[in-house]
Amino acid sequence: MSSFGILMRLQIRNRLAVLRGGGLRGTDGKLKTGKLVGGVFIALAYLMILVMVVGLEFLLFEGLKAIGQPELLLSMALTVVMAGMVFMSFFYVLTSLYYGRDTSFLASLPVTSRTVFGTKLTEILLGETGIASLALLPAIILYGLHVQAGVGYYVSALLVALTSAMIPVAVVTLLATLIVKLTGGSRHRDAVMMIYSVLIMVVVLTVEFSVMGRVPEDAGMAYFVQLMLDRQMLMRQVAQAFPPSWWAMQGLMGNAGSLLGYLTCAMGAYGMVWLLMGGGYLSRTLSLTENTVRRRARKRGEIRPHRPLTTLFLREWREILRTPVYAYNCLTGCIIMPLMLVGMYFGGREAADADSLSVMLVVVQGMLSQVPQAYLFLGLVAVITFVCCINPAVDTAVSREGGRHMLSRMLPVSTRTQLQAKLLMGMTINLISALVGAVMFICMLPSFTPVIVLALLFSQVTNWGLSSFSLALDAARPKFHWRNEMQAIKQNGNIALGMLISFLLLIVPTVAFFLLGGLSLGLRTAAVVGICVLESLIGYVILMRVADTTYARMEDEGA
């Protein structure tokens, strides 16, 4: 077997080890019910996401059929999947290429840098291809059924799906490598790198939004209104925004030349990145492991006492801020909204008239002032809480301790306090996201400031509840046996479970609100508020129970 094949097998085994790790049967042959139930819930969580995707594509398809151009579904789905993948997988690719813990081990082996790079890249590609294909599948089937397509269609669709991640992975790898090169000799490398990453994401979003919203010059208000009326034009623009997706669509409709064009484009991009970036890969990565900061003298005032809860809390935050993998994954919630807004702002300005944006905001304000404030309040709470649902920092707060969990166990600090510090960390992350969101809303809709502030305040109750539930989950069944930080935060089912529970907790008051349709709006709002408070209290009580029982008695001291 070639060295590439051997390395590839190692990577894949390493990946699958997590799945295989605890087989469903123990050594004594008994079925591990806890594991099974956990697995079922994780599968449910992923299923839910898939259902959401299918639903969205279905709705889009209905819309496209209505305007008589169903084939646009294919091109649009492909464009959106690719654009989304560039945005969503950036931090993942950056960290798995350049922050793996195994670099020095791999560098000691008698294989070339290009081979190592190739295996890493292929591992990323395989994962992303899976995700992209799943996202494209509904579109392909919906359209195929609609036109009663033959075998040829499905074969070419398979080809398109299997190559759909190549362009995004190539683009993202290029960007990630660019950042690593740019931060070359910087003293505060990790920090500089994070700032660059954020800037790059702004640029990516700007480009994506400006391409998608490409609009003729001097179109102005008239164009904006027309756009609203004539959805067909907008659809066509999105569909044509990215030529390769357009070719793929035409290819799927039977044009062999276009299909070939698309395939060449995808594989060419991937191959180029492999060839060009592979040579210097190991030396680049190894240089990242060097510590560039050496602060000699200790400054005065650095020796400052804190209470145990505070000092544990500070440690949690330091850990996240200073570990790039954690920072990228845990803080996305805080930066994603403003990033998208900035991207939209620049991209939109590039494409359309800035005036049309402000006109739209005025229209929205007008519309919203017709709505009872209670609706607005509940809607905002729901939006802010929704953002809190995805918080890997709290979902993996205990798991991330790994082998160091032993150090926590010997501390003369109660397990309650230790978990409270983690809870506080998770809540402050959510609070930052919520604050950023609230400020955005206030900027856009200044006349609704009081409601927005009220919603922000109340959403901290739901934040408390959701974070408690998620943390209780991770404290009850942590995954300590990770080999690198990437695994600690990415390959942890507790993230999916935490999300699932959070969604369920969000759904309960929502359903109650609609079920109570007969009552007055004030009563319904009060009911929702009451349910949220109750849920949060229950969450916190459960967390404290776990702290006193399961977490306190944990035998698995890590590594």
Binding site: T27, N291, V293, R294, R295, R296, A297, R298, E302, I303, R304, P305, H306, R307, P308, T310, T311, L312, L314, R315, R318, E319, R322, T323, G402, G403, R404, M406, L407, R409, M410, L411, P412, V413, S414, R553, E555, E557, G558, A559
Partner: protein
Amino acid sequence: MIRLEHVSKQYGKGKIKALDDLTLHVEKGKVFGFIGPNGAGKTTTIKLLTGILTPTEGKVMIGGQDMVENPLAAKRMIGFVPDSHEMYERLTGLEYLNFMADIYGVDAASRKAHIEKYLALFELEDAAGDQIRSYSRGMKQKLTIIGALIHHPPVWVLDEPMVGLDPKATHLLKEEMRRHCEAGNTVFFSTHVLDVAEKLCDEIAIINKGKLIAEGTLEELRSGEKGASLEQLFLEMTGEAEEATV
């Protein structure tokens, strides 16, 4: 100061018996050496002592406090140097020491004095501002030692503390252990470096396959065999145990 009463520990729901009915008493003001071959159960014992694990059976008492019933009070009396080098790699050395001082409630003045004294002693002043991940193994070990002593613990527990230290640091550590015990505290450490145990310890216990096979001063252990080195005794005793169980 340290009392283990009929302590047993089983891992993996009783499948692996790591400790079997261990009883140990260590008095105040003693340096106590805990020796045994690899896998004998030294680390397990130490994890029970420090409250990291809970015994399957038996009692662990530190300074009169039961580790299971009153863990926080018991843990507060211990300073622990673990054998693994898992640390909070992204904290700076100084942040780590401040963290430990905060957790054990050490006031500002005495932590400052302690930190400055020991950083100088172990020659870590220059690296104190750096993140721990840039430290060598020995530097990490030194930092853990400073952190463990920050609250002047009545009981100092160390698991294989000499591993990874340079000769100078080893010497310093041995002196520190002696000094700590002369100040009226107790030192409990495990090792398989026998000369260290021979020179340093007031009392020694030998453990093999989870069972205590000998305990006492070096003189007591030697009883009968005048002039025998600890190494001879050790090999004899663990060898015997081997045959007995086969």
